[in-house]
Symmetry: C2
Subunit: 339 residues, 2 copies
């Protein structure tokens, strides 16, 4: 339990009777040192339990092997799955993850705020709705950046985006298989949210391809919450719109809200109303009827972000990459074509 000052490269050098340069080489460029000396050095390292000082290392190499990941104030599963995927990939590649949540709450301060670590080799930044100031702040940060969710290709930055279009089309076609396009609704999250916008757009577009120009009331925007879905459903039901309708929700929680709202209005799901969610969170498998939903592979997204970021760190001049993560429809019970 004696807590001495940790051993330095000096100590190892002395113990192995070599210079510090040699020790350093053994650790970083082993091919430059003879097997015999390398062996002596390794023994000394082990004997002393030597660990290089990361600060001294960083001072020289300007590398920390730490990546930052900044997430907006999103909840629960979305957050944790993304992070889990990112962390696993980072570990794989020899990096650690510095997190910063609720980044949207950043005040203009720009000081030692959430992003200004100055200790990370790169930053994975999730932007879920327009936020110029965040983006500018991140830019000034002058470190490799990969942007999540937002499509900033025009800015020439690496980005990982969810292929909302494919998933939305698939889901919409699924509903169109048993319902008329005029009976379909999209109930999204916030109007500014990138994902919601793309999903709504693809929804309308798919209807158009089915020869139907969506009425304004066929798309609705609120927030990513059960409550909003519930309110929407109650109102829609009151207007008699929900019977025989199909609903694509902006996420699973909205979908669940719609489901409850429809039920409380005396409708049966999926017999009277078909519902498809988005994200395929745990919730979708838990509720009854089991929720059909568009699967968004959160963990993959996190992993992809890290992969792209590490590539950029190692090759600053590489062409900007845009990774499009696929989404796929998972059909469960809330939308199955009832006889």
């Amino acid at each position: 339990m004696t807590s001495q000052r940790p051993f330095s490269i000096q100590d190892v050098a002395e113990k192995a009777e070599v210079s510090t340069a040699t020790v350093s080489r053994v650790l970083n460029r082993p091919e430059l040192v003879s097997p015999a000396t390398a062996d002596r050095v390794h023994k000394a390292i082990k004997a002393l339990g030597y660990k290089p000082n990361r600060f001294a290392q960083g001072l020289m190499t300007r590398r920390s092997k730490v990546l930052g990941i900044a997430l907006p104030d999103i909840h629960g599963e979305f957050y944790s799955e993304l992070l889990r995927g990112a962390d696993a990939e980072a570990k794989q590649l020899g990096y650690h993850l510095l997190v910063s949540s609720e980044v949207h709450a950043v005040n203009g301060d720009a000081g030692r705020g959430s992003l200004a670590f100055g200790l990370i080799d790169g930053l994975a930044l999730m932007i879920s709705e327009p936020n110029e100031s965040l983006w500018t702040e991140a830019q000034q940060f002058n470190t490799p950046i990969v942007v999540l969710d937002a499509d900033l290709r025009d800015r020439g930055v690496d980005s990982v985006i969810v292929d909302n279009e494919a998933g939305t089309r698939e889901a919409t076609h699924h509903l169109l298989a048993s319902l008329r396009p005029n009976m379909l609704y999209f109930v999204g999250g916030g109007k500014d949210n990138f994902d919601t916008r793309q999903r709504a757009k693809a929804f309308v577009q798919t209807l158009k391809e089915a020869e139907w120009a969506a009425r304004p009331d066929q798309t609705a925007f609120g927030e990513y919450s059960l409550d909003w879905g519930y309110r929407w459903a109650k109102e829609a039901a009151a207007k008699g719109l929900l019977k025989g309708a199909g609903v694509l929700a902006g996420n699973d929680e909205i979908a669940y809200g719609v489901l409850e709202g429809a039920r409380d209005a005396g409708l049966r799901v999926p017999e009277d109303t078909k519902i498809v969610g988005f994200d395929d969170t745990r919730l979708a498998r838990l509720i009854r009827p089991r929720l059909s939903t568009v699967r968004v592979p959160l963990a993959d997204i996190g992993a992809a972000a890290i992969r792209v970021l590490v590539r950029r760190v190692n090759d600053p001049d590489a062409e900007p990459a845009v990774v499009r993560v696929p989404t796929t429809l998972v059909v469960r019970d809330s939308s199955t074509a009832a006889a």
Copy 2:
């Protein structure tokens, strides 16, 4: 977009026509420098956009202002809420958070593995079931540590623990208000899980205080999943045990499983069977009937861990602290005494 080598304290010193020491003082011990010079320095700093090099700083101070947080492979909300609370508190105290998930999967390697950062000022380590090797590895790490969940007081280490006992007692008494002790069941998670163990123990103890020695079948252990709750409920119902019974589940998901199982067995909740969950996750508010549950303030736990850790970092010789985070019963619809 000119990406020069960043400005150093030297540059600032020259620009402000002072020594580097003065610049350093302005930043770290402003009270030691005259307002006039401080002002000049600040201007220079701003003009150059100077940011201290964290590596050089760390090399001197042996401090990074980064705290590690290592979590076992836990899912969803538990994970994210804890992290959110920790991150908020860390930010508050001027720290950043380095996360490491799925730490239980650590191989004995001990190398540059999950914990061996050597870059953090302290580590918040969550241990949810016995794991000596993890603990030893963390020990060797030789950095301030706060342990979450596990009660390691005897080891003289700082820890933050959930007051499972109070919450369990409250929930059990709540059920006892309308049911006989012989009709109560505890359906926990894994038998090794610390929380489950404590909850089971408090449950049995509370029954004992109600003059009832719990039968072996009144406590059951499985895992933290809906499936397990469902299976247990179906079996219990098949034996005719569930009608008129009260169930305290090890977490909300198990509770939900029990709820579904009871329903599928033709029982009504809460009329025929009363159910109380644990944790008060989002799920508890989403399902119908709304789930009564013992609230565990995850965010507070994360925050408390950081607070304790920072205290330890700043005062290595302080008395080991044990923070006990309170739990409280939240009564909703799944357990209300039906007429």
